[in-house]
């Protein structure tokens, strides 16, 4: 291809594109959107749906723009009478055996049959005969439901499973109009961690998501960019939510999570672990107010009261350098929170022990997206240098807490299911003066803490995470904090004045600048540079910063 440029005209507008570009891509560069079903930029071109046909002057037949490459002097029409006729024809053909059950179809509202019917169809049905009956509501994976009648046989799902994850669960069976997509005999998508992507790929309602369907109509959903926290890949995602119609969705504001394109991190994809693990962030056991233990009861307090109590307890417990502090930062916290945490605890109390090198979730990476390390920001915490004396594995320090006579424990929850058992908290009662917990969700462990601060999970938090590649990515909140929960950074900033430190109100951009100023690894980095695709930190090899997959030639 050698970057040689070709000049062509599309709808009377001139374009200069590299040789080898397809007409569809060239049109896109001019902002002309050509409809497509089977075409997907990350999949092999099959040219089978025919909706993308355009007229190339001098060519007696229309050409498929997804496959036809540009040529010097080519004159393309994407809106001529011929194009209109063939596209309307394709729409008519595709709808012949489609049930047109939009009112009960979950894809309604984001369906390309609907979209292109409005732009390129609008024909009256001429069909007077029976449509082909096929299998409906077939569960082909944990959350994937197939409706063969709605399928237009674009084969995107089949190709994704063949080409991207190479697991080959789906195939096209039979031929002619009764052809259908189905599971290959003896195979199932149940164990496939990437099955959810075929739902995203399906341009119609043939593949729907059982975790999401019938809970929201898609036009009721807002979208916010986010980053998946469930492993160190840091896949870029989009949170789809509605804060008002949650009664349709078990009171949850989030409807679903979808991948967001980042060519350096996750391309168009994400894994099912990331896709279906968000529910805890909207669970009824979310903590909504600071809690302070009095006797056996935890009672709700205001933030200011709880912060003052916590500061007093900490000062009292570690007064005079005799008491010792054990602090447990979380690998889910942002770099900014980690910076504050270090300044507050590690730098303040030279007797502190830091337990953060969690060994939890260090298996199961697959060499594609999912990493062994199921935490979003281990690298970030390492770069902040949480503990100059070298930390200690979180679980080991937790285990020896009752024997080690720490006078105070500060604990930040990672995921609710990772909290230690209630017995540990009970055992600390006699030995430790204060157990102060920052948590998103109530667990048996937090229920026995002396002070509990309700913090925001990733869906409501702001800040920087560093993925395994060494790519710093900016996390923004998709939702407002639930109840009285606050971002961890804001909570820590609220504690700081008691120790003579001032971090303002903990505003995300201020904190970032402050952190970037003081942590060498982030020197010179500014927020705008983090936007979009994130920024590679110095010292990490470029090859690692741009590879989707780890090592395997897949």
């Amino acid at each position: 291809m050698s970057g040689e440029l070709v000049r062509l005209t599309i709808d009377g507008r001139e374009a200069m594109v590299p040789r080898g570009t397809t007409i569809l891509q060239a049109a896109e560069s001019l902002g002309i959107y050509i409809p497509r079903y089977c075409y997907h930029p990350a999949l092999r071109i099959v040219g089978s749906c025919r909706i993308c046909q355009v007229e190339v002057i001098g060519n007696p037949t229309p050409q498929i723009s997804c496959f036809t490459q540009v040529a010097e002097g080519m004159d393309v029409l994407t809106d001529s009478p011929l194009v209109k006729r063939v596209r309307t024809a394709v729409m008519e053909f595709l709808l012949l055996n489609h049930p047109i059950d939009c009112p009960i179809c979950d894809t309604s509202g984001e369906c390309d049959l609907q979209n292109f019917y409005m732009t390129d169809g609008k024909h009256r049905s001429r069909l007077r005969h029976h449509k082909i009956n096929r299998t409906k509501r077939k569960r082909i994976g944990q959350n994937v439901v197939l409706d063969q009648e709605r399928c237009i046989l674009c084969s995107r799902c089949v190709r994704f499973l063949q080409e991207v994850v190479q697991t080959h669960e789906l195939g096209l069976f039979g031929r002619g109009a009764p052809e259908r997509i189905d599971l290959v005999e003896g195979k199932s998508l149940d164990g496939n961690n990437y099955a959810g992507n075929i739902i995203d790929l399906c341009p119609v309602g043939a593949l729907t998501d059982d975790d999401f369907r019938f809970k929201f109509r898609v036009w009721d959903l807002s979208r916010a960019p986010s980053i998946c926290p469930f492993c160190s890949a840091g896949c870029n995602i989009e949170v789809h939510f509605n804060t008002e119609l949650c009664w349709k969705n078990n009171a949850m504001r989030i409807g679903r999570v979808k991948p967001r394109l980042n060519p350096h991190v996750n391309s168009y994809w994400m894994c099912d672990i990331g896709r279906y693990s968000f529910h805890y962030t909207e669970h009824p056991d979310r903590l909504k107010q600071p809690l302070v233990r009095e006797g056996e009861q935890q009672t709700a307090h205001s933030w200011s009261a709880a912060l003052a109590l916590a500061a007093a307890k900490l000062k009292q417990a570690v007064a005079g350098g005799t008491g010792r502090l054990a602090a447990f930062p979380s690998l889910y916290m942002t770099v900014e929170s980690a910076f504050l945490f270090r300044r507050l605890f590690s730098d303040q109390f030279n007797t502190a022990r830091m337990g953060f090198q969690s060994g939890i979730g260090l298996t199961g990476g697959d060499g594609f997206l999912l990493r062994d390390d199921r935490n979003p920001n281990r690298l970030g915490l390492e770069l902040v240098k949480m503990d100059r004396k070298g930390g200690e594995p979180r679980d080991e320090l937790l285990e020896r807490l009752p024997q080690s006579k720490f006078s105070a424990v500060v604990y930040v929850q990672e995921l609710p299911e990772r909290d230690p058992p209630a017995e540990l908290a009970a055992a600390l009662r006699g030995a430790t003066a204060a157990l102060i917990v920052f948590a998103t969700n109530a667990t048996p462990f937090t229920a026995l803490a002396d002070i509990v601060f309700p913090i925001c999970p990733w869906t409501e938090d702001h800040g920087t995470w560093v993925n395994w590649q060494g790519r710093a990515q900016w996390l923004t909140p998709a939702l407002p904090p639930m109840g009285g929960a606050k971002p961890l950074a804001a909570a820590l900033a609220g504690l700081a004045p008691f120790f003579g430190l001032n971090f303002g109100q903990g505003a995300p951009d201020e904190l970032f600048d402050r952190m970037a100023n003081e942590v060498p690894a982030f020197k010179g980095l500014t927020l705008p540079r983090l936007g979009g695709e994130g920024a590679g930190l110095p010292g990490f090899p470029a090859s690692r910063l741009t590879t989707l997959t780890e090592t395997k030639e897949r």
Partner: protein
Amino acid sequence: MTERILTRNWQIVNAHTLAVYQSRGGYRALAKALTQMTPEQVTAEVLASNLQGRGGAGFPTGRKWRFLPPPDGGPRYLVVNADEGEPGTFKDRYIMELDPHMMIEGIVITGYAIGATKCYIYIRGEYRPAAHRTLAALHEAQAAGLLGPGILGSGYSLDTDVIMGAGAYICGEETALIESIEGKKGWPRLKPPFPAVKGLFGRPTIVNNVETLACIPHIIERGGAWFAALGTPRNGGTKLFAVSGDVEQPGVIELPMGTPLRQVIAACGGVKGGRKVKAVIPGGASAPVLTADDLDLPMDFTSVAAAGSMLGSAAVMVMSEDRDMVYALSVIMEFFAHESCGQCTPCREGTRWSNEILHAILAGKGRNSDIDTLLDIARNMDGTTICPMGPGAAAPLRSFLTKFRPEFEAAIENLRNRARGEAAA
């Protein structure tokens, strides 16, 4: 009657054996090609013969061979298309059953000309006797040193393999055939690249029809100019016509290119029962139908194309005056609906839809608007598909409906009235 070339051995007992084939002058052309000619000279001779592909497209064979890129040391393939599936066509079957060595001799000469390292013979699944004869002949040829390593003591070696199809019409399309050999579902590929550049297993490949290859030994033995002179100026040689339908003596008949249609029918004993011709499909089901007005049409690729149809595989289907065109078209469209591979939208949906409409008409449920709907479907399948099957299904639809429109209009009306009458009674 002119000289019989391709059918010259068909009435000889045991012509399918090597001994008889050789006693009739077989494999002399191969010896000539391997010992006296360079591959380039063989190709030049084929070019001079004006031989056109006999599978249906009629593309000049020599030019097809010239599309091959220069040798790069890697494998390149010759694929024999013996998946004779076009309705009405049964000429290749006769060659393989009665005279397989003529095809094999053509294969080896062609392989030599194009530098093929391996040849795959893809035989239609239903053609078991033809496959058995071909296999037996390949064994004989190999044992006699006419195939395999160092053919006839020359430096050229060619290995062959017989693959049986599984009954899909679409696998006669050369790229679907290649996919099928590769073990995949028989779906035509997007072109370019064409098989000559990137074909079987991603390597340069030439796909030739059985009858095409059977012509090669004669061209080499007697010269391209001689072969060209047998036919019309642009269409060399003789042609096998598979004549069926309402003729007295249906079968395969060899006639020079350009023989008028009337003579082709006459050579088969004329129309059955002395009736008049109503319609003739000149080249298999996907060729537009001709009428009694076209009987003087010279049967060669150029002339039939000029008349708006195509010579195709030269499967001539004769329909006499008492044939029902609506029923005939419904049979053809049922075939296409059944055989559409299902890959691209217009053909997959259009063939079924038109079949449904035609059957509704036959059931007395037709509407006057159906004819225009069918014509629309034909137009929308034509030129909008990956492979020629879309246009191939559109051709009979459009030609039947335009040339016999009054008959369709009457049938819709009559069958509907009859159905209503039956319902009332």
